[in-house]
């Protein structure tokens, strides 16, 4: 086994020194096979397309960004895309990482926080505030449930005079007016 592994290594050395002595012209030809098709330099963060064409990932990414609606291979115009290229990991790189994940950084998913409007802090805690959203969905009957509090299963209204009570009164009036405007609009239209 040891002799087997030695043999290729010595032959590789021999060919390596051979190319060194052969001069820069031959070296150029060898590295030219690994040139990026866009920057024409030796590909770094290399990826290869399904049609077999080699690119630097930053170069290809910029090409895809330039024409977002026409994603074609720059060499043969075959279909191409971010998910249709394969990253290449050589032996020289100590910690290989998918080039598509580092440069440029992949766009993050966005999850904006729900907007909290002032004077509506009780929402989502299962208290009486929940009735308002129900009231909108079951319009116009919801108005009565929220205005007159006809449901029995829900927790009772907060005691009159508390801060929550005034807020609820305020909001139910707003929704009542919205409903009136909506009905008016329906009649006019």
């Amino acid at each position: 086994m040891s002799s087997d592994t030695e043999k290729p290594s010595t032959s590789a050395e021999a060919s390596g020194s051979g190319s060194n002595s052969a001069g820069p012209g031959e070296d150029d030809d060898k590295t030219a096979a690994y040139e990026c098709n866009i920057c024409l330099d030796t590909a770094h963060d290399a990826v290869v397309s399904m049609c077999g064409h080699l690119f630097c990932w930053p170069c290809l990414h910029q090409w895809l960004e330039t024409r977002p609606h026409r994603q074609l291979c720059p060499v043969c115009k075959a279909g191409i895309g971010k998910d249709k290229v394969i990253p290449i990991y050589g032996r020289g790189n100590p910690n290989p990482q998918d080039p598509r994940e580092k440069l440029p950084p992949r766009p993050q998913g966005q999850r904006p926080e729900p907007e909290t409007t002032g004077g509506f802090p009780g929402f989502g805690f299962g208290d009486a505030g929940f009735q308002f959203s129900f009231g909108i969905g079951a319009f116009p009957f919801g108005i009565f449930t929220s205005s007159f509090n006809m449901s029995d299963n829900r927790p009772g209204p907060p005691p009159p005079g508390s801060a929550q009570h005034t807020e609820e009164q305020f909001l139910s009036r707003i929704f009542l007016w919205v409903a009136i405007i909506f009905i008016f609009w329906l009649i006019v239209a």
Partner: protein, 199 residues
């Protein structure tokens, strides 16, 4: 200019200078200055076409976004061709517009232009007058294109009859280039060309 554009033009310039086409005198590329954003290309007229033996100069400007966007190319040498403006030298070629691909190079652009000279597309014209002549009266088109090649691109002298028509208009006090353009677009009819020049 961004680094990638400049670095690429440097490489392409070397590639063209070393290529076989240069050895065969088909295409050449020269730098205008050392900034690598403006070049002058030259292509030989393809044999067996009205452009044979002519040499056509092209202005090549490299945008900052090269190679993601195509170079801006136009003919400096006046030429009579359906897809090239006889007035401005503007070119109608898909790869210089929406069909550009980042792997194309100045060498492939020059070779494509040479191919365009050999195979005109009169149905997708840049110069409507030339395209109409190409479709309706090919022999006059061919004669005119040869004449323009001889006068502007150093091609062989073709038809003395056309030269004498231009001389007669020149004697009437018109500019030679204007007289040639008018005669060319009016099918070498002196009367119609004179009328056109006066109006």
């Amino acid at each position: 200019m961004t680094n990638i554009a400049q670095a690429r033009i440097k490489r392409e310039f070397k590639e063209v200078v070393k290529s076989d086409e240069v050895a065969a005198c088909n295409i050449t590329l020269e730098l205008v200055d050392d900034k690598y954003n403006e070049l002058i290309g030259k292509i030989a007229g393809p044999p067996d076409t009205p452009y044979a033996e002519g040499t056509f100069c092209l202005e090549i400007r490299i945008p900052e976004t090269y190679p993601f966007n195509p170079p801006i190319v136009k003919f400096l040498t006046k030429i009579w061709h359906p897809n090239i403006s006889s007035v401005t030298g503007a070119i109608c070629l898909d790869i210089l517009k929406d069909q550009w691909a980042a792997a194309m190079t100045l060498r492939t652009v020059l070779l494509s232009l040479q191919a365009l000279l050999a195979a005109a597309e009169p149905d997708d014209p840049q110069d409507a007058v030339v395209a109409q002549q190409y479709k309706e009266n090919y022999s006059i088109f061919e004669k005119t294109a040869k004449h323009w090649t001889a006068v502007y691109a150093g091609g062989p002298k073709s038809c003395p009859e056309l030269d004498s028509k231009i001389t007669s208009l020149k004697n009437m006090g018109f500019d030679e280039n204007q007289a040639r353009a008018a005669l060319s677009s009016k099918g070498w009819d002196i009367e119609r060309a004179t009328e056109y020049l006066i109006n």
